[in-house]
């Protein structure tokens, strides 16, 4: 049986731990038998940590995020998330790809979480106005998503999550569909907004560069079935500037190191894909 509990901050043995995962396993029942997506994951994520998960495609990293978001149940093990302060949501997710409601304007999209929670109009106006300004979208508040570029849409998506003021931000490869230039700009923007509040973040990516640029700590996952392979701490100070950071020799070393861990897994994932295809 799985247990998923929300404990209050005082109850947690270590008050600094926001997310505690013990022996978490997720098995999907498929037509061709059980499929182990996640295998005995153990994790402690401290409050305020920008936590990155890197792994080859199909390693179950999105599944882990969906479990944390409450969109999926886990099979065995336990998951403890420190309860948020009264009236605040536990988490908000920035989804991969287009997740803005096409029938809502930029403003309505960004205000979605607050509106659903029935917050007063004045608060919604202030908070949404703030985050749309921070993401440079104030001029577009009456536009519909299809009138925006891919980068702008993802900015609305980020504003929507931040405006909801959650305890934890879950980000599922939010920039993977963007071109390189837009990616760097949005990473900078994300860091800038994050510096204001320093929320706990769990960020999934397949880009080692992105992981090192944004994260405090990086978990590298194995190819299927998804396990935690190595945990790497990122020593760079904050606030960070993306391009300056990338110019440092230590940056290149760290990226190279992580690639060393990841290479085998990516190759294994490829072999698995080819095995499935043949």
């Amino acid at each position: 049986m799985s247990t998923s509990t929300l404990t209050s901050a005082q109850d947690a043995s270590d008050a600094n731990v926001k997310i505690r995962i013990r022996d978490l396993t997720k098995v999907f029942q498929t037509k061709s038998g059980p499929f182990v997506a996640l295998d005995t994951i153990n994790l402690d994520i401290p409050t305020g940590c920008f936590f990155m998960i890197v792994g080859p495609s199909g390693c179950g990293k999105t599944t882990l995020l969906r479990i944390l978001a409450g969109l999926e149940d886990h099979s065995t093990g336990s998951l403890e998330i420190t309860a948020p302060a009264a009236g605040r949501p536990s988490n908000s997710m920035v989804f991969q790809g287009d997740s803005l409601f096409p029938w809502m304007t930029v403003w309505e999209n960004a205000a979605y979480g607050l509106t659903m929670r029935g917050r007063p109009k004045s608060e919604i106006k202030e908070v949404v106005g703030h985050y749309l300004a921070r993401t440079g979208l104030s001029r577009f508040h009456d536009s519909y998503p299809h009138q925006l570029s891919g980068g702008m849409r993802q900015r609305v998506s980020i504003a929507r999550a931040f405006a909801n003021d959650p305890d934890i931000l879950l980000m599922d490869e939010p920039f993977s569909a963007l071109d390189e230039q837009n990616k760097v700009l949005l990473q900078e923007e994300l860091l800038r907004i994050w510096e204001e509040t320093r929320k706990t973040v769990m960020f999934i990516t397949h880009s080692v560069d992105e992981a090192v640029t944004l994260g405090d700590r990086i978990m590298i996952m194995t190819a299927h079935p998804g396990r935690a392979k190595v945990m790497v701490d990122v020593p760079f100070e904050r606030p960070r500037r993306v391009l300056e950071l990338r110019a440092q020799p230590e940056y290149g070393e760290l990226v190279y190191n992580i690639w060393g861990h990841l290479r085998d897994e990516v190759q294994r994932a490829r072999a698995q894909d080819e095995g499935r295809a043949s």
Binding site: A69, G70, L71, P89, N91, S92, M93, F95, G97, D98, S99, F101, P102, W103, M104, Y112, G113, M116, R117, Y144, P145, H146, Q147, R160, N164
Partner: protein
């Protein structure tokens, strides 16, 4: 070599043509031009004796009768009673269909239970159940309204359900993650997401409603366009029959135009594509 000289000329001609009416206004203009064209051909054929005027009186003759029917208030009276029945039928059939259809799209359990019933009753010709409806609801207004309601019900329900099923699952994930209640999911995701297809259902339903109200009024009614047409047949006033038919056609066209405008207003994220 000659290409270099020809090309600029071609481009200019192209630009000139684009400066005329936009494609949108040309399409709107066709709404008027095309039926009027048909009437003109008809008039010519009737006057030259190509067609039998006992069955196909000249449009000018029909419009004379129409004018007198407007003057003595008959046409307005009959149109008005048909429109009222249509209106209530659309409301009584459409609103439950909308709610049930969207709910069926949202909840698999409900869909599994209700869908076979819908699939079995949908193909029954609505005109074939008119006697039964007359038996149950009597000869008054209720039977006419129910008749329209049954016609409107199916296309709206089926389109609303299909509309919800076509919504990308990610939008339901978003609303769940952002803490939307069931009612909020209905209102902010399922209903607006299904709206483009629901509007298609409404258009089909209104068209079918016009057909059914005419049929229903031919039996046991003392007013309405259907009654007017039936009565004209009994007194052999072919022109009056055509007046009724034209009125129904014009109403159908007006409904389509109105619904297209409504669609533009309530589905702004689709129309501006």
């Amino acid at each position: 070599m000659t290409n270099a000289v020809e090309n600029p000329v071609k481009t200019q001609a192209f630009i000139k043509r684009r400066r005329g009416l936009s494609r949108d206004s040309v399409e709107r203009l066709m709404n008027i031009v095309s039926p009027v064209g048909l009437l003109l051909i008809w008039e010519v054929c009737a006057r030259t004796g190509i067609i039998d005027v006992r069955f196909f009186p000249a449009p000018s003759k029909v419009f004379q009768v129409m004018y007198s029917l407007i003057e003595n208030g008959q046409l307005v009276k009959h149109s008005w009673s048909s429109l009222q029945r249509l209106w209530w039928g659309i409301l009584f059939g459409g609103i439950p269909a909308l709610i049930l259809g969207v709910a069926m799209g949202m909840y698999r359990g409900l869909r599994v239970v209700v869908e076979p019933v819908i699939a079995a009753t949908y193909p029954i010709p609505k005109s074939a159940i008119l006697p039964l409806i007359l038996l149950i609801f009597g000869l008054g207004e209720a039977s006419k309204i129910v008749m329209v309601a049954t016609g409107v019900f199916y296309p709206i329900l089926i389109n609303a359900m299909a509309g919800v099923l076509e919504i990308n699952k990610i939008y339901f994930d978003v609303s769940r993650n952002f803490g939307a209640s069931r009612w909020q999911v209905f209102r902010t995701v399922a209903l607006p997401g299904a709206l483009p297809l629901i509007m298609t259902g409404v258009k089909l339903g209104v068209g079918l409603g016009l057909v059914l109200i005419s049929i229903a009024e031919m039996v046991g009614a003392k007013s309405g366009l259907g009654y007017m047409i039936w009565n004209a047949w009994e007194i052999l006033s072919v022109e009056t029959m055509y007046v009724g038919l034209i009125t129904i056609a014009v109403l159908g066209l007006l409904f389509t135009l109105a619904l297209n405008e409504i669609e533009r207003l309530i589905v702004p994220w689709k129309s501006s594509r």
